[in-house]
């Protein structure tokens, strides 16, 4: 039995000398749903970009039992569905169909299978019938859902989301939270939405200045208001 995500002593320095990660270690079991919180610039996004080799720092990263090293990048990218913060980045094709089909098509799956994957992915995010729509003209909430569908179509084992509720109105946010609750895979979600963390994630990891500050049951950490405050967070009321 392997962990879904195993990170050991990971460090990363940006080319301009900024030390974004300093010895981060983190293990996530299959089917676990974990929230990653911390102030802006804590290194959350940098950490996330290491999970499928977009960034390549010092240390060990293993995903679903595979070393995240150059030879495995292609395989790892199919296993880890990475949803970027801005759906504008995620949706780069003319139509919704093209975007959702990108992953399966890149993998070289036969056409019928690609069709089926797209239908399943759109159904999973409750966006059936949007295939021919132009991504550019969708609402923010719709774009977020399509962005998630674009990785679901790869049938990933792990879903990693960067600030999924940022910029959503309350109704879109609510329906996105319900969507995340329905999805069965292992999940690591970086967010500032502490209410969502409390509601959805049994486990919480606090990062600050490129380090893991605390890692434990959400309820327990939420009760330590001093700790939260020290790292730019606030307990929801």
């Amino acid at each position: 039995m392997h962990h879904s995500i195993e990170i050991h002593n990971l460090s990363y320095t940006y080319p301009d000398g900024q030390r974004a990660l300093q010895g981060v270690s983190l293990n996530i079991r299959p089917d676990e749903k974990v929230a990653l919180v911390g102030p802006n610039g804590a290194g959350k996004s940098t950490l996330i970009l290491h999970l499928n080799g977009i960034l390549d720092g010092q240390g060990q990263v293993e995903v679903c039992g595979l070393d995240v090293v150059k030879e495995n990048f292609a395989r790892v990218r199919a296993l880890v569905g990475l949803v970027f913060q801005s759906p504008e980045d995620q949706l780069f094709s003319p139509t919704v169909f093209d975007d959702v089909a990108y992953g399966p098509l890149y993998q070289g799956l036969p056409v019928e299978q690609v069709q089926a994957r797209v239908q399943e992915a759109l159904a999973a995010v409750h966006m059936q019938g949007y295939e021919r729509r132009v991504s550019h003209h969708l609402s923010m909430g719709e774009k977020k859902r399509i962005a998630i569908a674009t990785v679901l179509s790869m049938e990933p084992e792990v879903l990693v989301l960067d600030e999924p509720t940022a910029g959503l109105d309350p109704r879109s946010r609510r329906s996105l939270i319900e969507l995340l609750r329905e999805l069965p895979m292992t999940m690591l979600v970086s967010t500032h939405d502490m209410l969502m963390v409390q509601e959805l994630f049994p486990r919480m990891v606090i990062m600050d200045e490129g380090r893991v500050i605390a890692d434990g049951p959400t309820q327990q950490l939420m009760d330590d208001e001093e700790l939260l405050w020290a790292h730019g967070l606030e307990k929801p009321r």
Binding site: N52, I54, S93, D98, Y106, Q107, G108
Partner: protein, 268 residues
């Protein structure tokens, strides 16, 4: 995660960095104009101009390696002058026949090609030194001071400001594509798709960037209107050029004019 490599400006405190941007701008233009006006094959003057550019580069403390590496950018453009070697009439140096064509290299052609190559290389070097030793906003101010149409300068400024935003956006898009470019578990599938499909995806990305740039320009314009923009670009009054600036400007222009005169004397 930002792109910095686009900005040619390099921090420094050399005499050249401290020189008034207006003086640098005029002298660079004058240098390029002089080089362009020089007749073909006045090698002594070329050597003098080269030593001038070399001294300016040493004075700028940018490092000769840096300037020469960047100036290699000019090389592909020089190739446009390559046919001259064969087409100019003159004493033939070497003749060959290719697919029934007779090609002959003339001495006049070689001289012309070498002159053009050398001249463009010198001009590019000066432009590199100017942009590397002057922050772009100061260059904009200099352009405005020299009565270049304000609207044009404003367009340069906006382009410069949003070029980086655009480059960042492109980088994020490419990153998002990489994140979804995976391999399935079955080993026998050919990953990557066909060339035509990949071209279509890249085309979609380009179209997307275009749409977003379009939207962004609308938003920027509205933000400008919201702050009272009425089509007229205003700017702060400029400091007068210091005596040192005038001195450098005068000496520089005099030097360039005398070099031009020398070249004319040599060709007569």
């Amino acid at each position: 995660m930002h792109i910095h490599f686009l900005d040619p400006y390099r921090e420094g405190s050399s005499p050249l960095h401290r020189l008034d941007a207006r003086v640098k701008f005029i002298l660079t233009l004058a240098f390029i104009l002089t080089v362009a006006l020089l007749p073909v094959g006045v090698w002594p003057v070329y050597v003098l101009l080269f030593s001038l550019s070399l001294s300016v580069e040493i004075l700028s403390e940018l490092g000769l390696g840096y300037v020469y590496k960047r100036s290699a950018l000019a090389l592909p453009f020089v190739l446009a002058a390559l046919p001259l070697i064969f087409t100019l009439p003159g004493r033939s140096l070497w003749t060959t026949s290719l697919f029934g064509w007779t090609l002959s290299i003339s001495q006049a052609g070689v001289e012309r090609f070498a002159s053009i190559g050398l001249k463009s290389w010198l001009s590019v070097q000066m432009a590199i030194v100017m942009t590397a030793s002057t922050p772009f906003p100061e260059l904009l101010v200099a352009m405005r001071a020299l009565r270049i149409p304000r609207l044009l300068v404003a367009i340069f400024g906006l382009m410069w400001r949003y070029l980086f935003v655009f480059a960042d956006e492109t980088l994020r898009l490419i990153r998002a594509r990489a994140a979804r470019s995976g391999r399935a578990e079955q080993a026998d599938l050919k990953t990557g798709g066909s060339l035509a499909w990949r071209a279509r995806v890249a085309g979609g990305m380009a179209g997307n960037l275009f749409l977003r740039a379009f939207d962004r320009s609308d938003r920027i314009y509205m933000a400008m209107l919201a702050r009272g923009y009425d089509g007229e670009v205003r700017s702060m009054p400029m400091r007068p050029i210091q005596p040192v600036g005038w001195f450098v400007l005068g000496t520089g222009l005099l030097l360039l004019v005398s070099l031009l005169g020398l070249a004319l004397l040599l060709t007569v």
